[in-house]
Amino acid sequence: MKLLRMTPGKGDVLLAEGDPAVAEDEERLVSEFRRQLDLGMWAAVPHEGPGGSREATMVRDFSEVPADAERVIFFPQAAGG
């Protein structure tokens, strides 16, 4: 699993990577996940929907991330423009 964050001037950057089934990796992933939410980021998990359509699900806690998710994408919280 990769934790990626969209950033100005760079595009996405890799924040953390690991296998959530491995305790040490999971600890690192959870810690980075929480840090990003504390910084005000939103987190989305891209996945395939019915019929192969592309979908995304917002997650607010690492426990909501499916174990087989390949990526979690962080991006700044939306604000009214």
Partner: protein, 145 residues
């Protein structure tokens, strides 16, 4: 000394290339092709849809008649590094809107400021974009049927 934004075209071009790859791997090849042809993405429900422009409002439209409905102004700003500015690359901005609409449309629309058409985008341009997009999508579907 306080750091401030410095424009860097080469850096921004690299960031946009990277953002387009993330868009392709997340939303798919067709979504990237739509973005590269028309400079926008779209999300369509049964009765209505949205055109997603980079760093511009979402534009809602009636999916049956094609009538434009409202502008939804929403921004994703990141001020963590003043030297590179607050704006995500264009392709990241549209992908962020696309993911938020796909995942939690109600929350995104609740956050947005709603304005009548024409506040930020020329309605004639949006109508042309929507017509061109729909024509291209129909042809694309015929070819891949």
């Amino acid at each position: 000394m306080r750091r401030r934004y410095v424009r860097n075209t080469a850096r921004d071009r690299r960031a946009e290339r990277r953002a387009r790859e993330l868009l392709r791997s997340t939303a798919g090849d067709e979504a990237l092709e739509t973005y590269e042809r028309f400079g926008l993405m779209s999300v369509e429900r049964e009765e209505y849809g949205y055109l997603i422009y980079p760093h511009r409002p979402l534009v809602a439209y009636d999916a049956v008649s094609g009538e434009l409905l409202s502008e939804y102004c929403v921004r994703f700003r990141d001020g963590s590094d003043p030297e590179v500015g607050e704006r995500l690359p264009d392709a990241d901005d549209v992908l962020a809107k696309w993911m938020a609409l796909r995942a939690d449309e109600r929350e995104l629309i609740r956050t947005a400021n709603v304005h009548p058409l024409g506040r930020q985008l020329d309605p004639a341009m949006v109508r042309r974009d929507l017509a061109a997009l729909r024509t291209w999508q129909r042809r694309h579907e015929e070819v891949h049927a």
